[in-house]
Symmetry: C2
Subunit: 378 residues, 2 copies
Amino acid sequence: MTPAADPQGLTRVPVALAERSYDILIGSGLVRGAGATLAERFPGRAVAIVTDAHVGEIHGPALEASLSGAGIRHHRITVAPGEATKRFAVLEEVVDQILAHRLERGDIVLALGGGVVGDLAGFAAAIVRRGMGFVQMPTSLLAQVDSSVGGKTGINSRHGKNLIGAFYQPGLVLADTDVLDTLSTREFRAGYAEVAKYGLIDDPGFFAWLETNWRGVFQGGRDRVHAIATSCRAKAAVVARDETETGDRALLNLGHTFGHALEAATAYDGARLVHGEGVAIGMCQAFRFSAKLGLCAPMDAVRMANHLKAVGLPTELSEIPGGVGDVDRLMAAIGQDKKVARGKLTFILARGIGESFIARDVDPAAVREFLAEELARD
Amino acid sequence: MTPAADPQGLTRVPVALAERSYDILIGSGLVRGAGATLAERFPGRAVAIVTDAHVGEIHGPALEASLSGAGIRHHRITVAPGEATKRFAVLEEVVDQILAHRLERGDIVLALGGGVVGDLAGFAAAIVRRGMGFVQMPTSLLAQVDSSVGGKTGINSRHGKNLIGAFYQPGLVLADTDVLDTLSTREFRAGYAEVAKYGLIDDPGFFAWLETNWRGVFQGGRDRVHAIATSCRAKAAVVARDETETGDRALLNLGHTFGHALEAATAYDGARLVHGEGVAIGMCQAFRFSAKLGLCAPMDAVRMANHLKAVGLPTELSEIPGGVGDVDRLMAAIGQDKKVARGKLTFILARGIGESFIARDVDPAAVREFLAEELARD
């Protein structure tokens, strides 16, 4: 009996979005059980697997064997790994291949990969025939706990990251925890920053649990499944309350306004800074900025940074190879971030660990002053 | 007092789509009243006017003067006229310009033009920052009664028309009936095909009214406003029942499966065949095919074709300059049409005038035989 055929072996996290509701299945063996799962949930549907060259080489054959075994017609569409793939030219190519394979509206685009593949494939699924079936099979920790849940899809613009896209929910997310064993420590850590984020937003108990049990999360097994499922549940709850980010959902951006600016300032060069590292530093900045504004006890900013440091994540601008330029450059990147409302700056700030809140109308002058201090830290 | 400031002078057609509900305003003077209308309905929002070189030259200055007069920040983005504009490269350029002007999520993309501009600009509005404000200002009869209502946006693929896009509702449609005076007779007629369609679908009384009053519709004034408002109301009712075309909405495709195939077979060359002409022939074919299948009285097929002929629309394949190729070519075009469900052919057929219905599982062999007869007609 394969694990996918054995619901007892899997953790199911439902995402409640009325007629767009779906399940996240978390556990072992989901790649090799994918054929049976899809045949049961989406009978008769053909599948376009969108993956990158790296992930496709590792996990493509097992997935394809599983789909073939279940009698599912499938085609593989391969893109280059890396953030640079999230652009119009690649989107056009993926869309063209989906249509060339004559997939219909009810057929499925399956994203096999990390956040880049999920964002790109999801956006393609959203726009081909004005919306096809879509299944996420996230292969990075970051994608499993963040980008594969919630329906944000899209590509980058020269004006900023993720400025072009759609809210488009998958019909199913299959988070196979085995595949995380093929990640580098750096990649795993980057995903861990988003796991810690859920504790920092509104779950101080989970943050304390992570401080004690983070080694188990890195190691695998029960602690890893617990951390992923807790993260998915936290994200699903926020997304269910606010699907298109008109309110509460912005809480998920803790660390992301600073983080995106750092990614922009390093030209999205993953060798220097990957998304989760930007978020790690960004969260530390959000807490330090909150402390500077007198909103949060300085000790909380120190405590959360100490935990991220312990798992090996960067917490300071000075840790970014090559630097990030000056205050003007960072402010320009923040200004183009899409979480700007009518010219005012919006940040997620904190009153303590697990007490984050949305601060609209943040004074740009205060941000400038804070960033100048941050750049002066060593 | 401008007409826009005088709601009594305008016909308002509400489109009921829960939190995506919006109004269609129909009448005289809406372009020069646009500034006041937008300032009242969307206070403080900047506007990106997307238009084509032709329409922008005629109506751009009046619209811009009106926006400036109301203190609204605005930018004009100009694309080339014609169906070829509905492609990825132009979409990318429009999206880039919207972002370059630093428009925010709450700001407005305003489509000033016909169906091409509306489809392209609406798709851009749907995907920039995962959804901006969107206002339609349709300047062709076709756009006023069809494409500007209902939220279908998109671009073409080499695999077929409108295969890439989004369902994205505008926040407001301003249908200025004065601007239709600048259309050529051919363009007006093409739009009229869609007006007649609403009678043919489910309103035999409206069709009979058109048979008597079509000259008034072409001339302008009260009959024109009545025909446009009746069409918008009909479309709004169908869209409200089935926003994303999973059921009833397919009725609006009367004449469109054949029509799209004819557009594809003429390489979307507007000199040979414009959309509304394809729909006119397509509707005649839908009725002749229905008659051939014994579903509809042959006299109804003759009667509806006679009316379209009377207004000067084409009703036969032989009227298309340069021809449309053979049966294989037309069948291939029909097979790629996005209204295919799981390999079966779906057509809108009729039991009589005003009695159209969705026929799923139409036998491709019967379509082939019918098309061979159509090609042999002279």
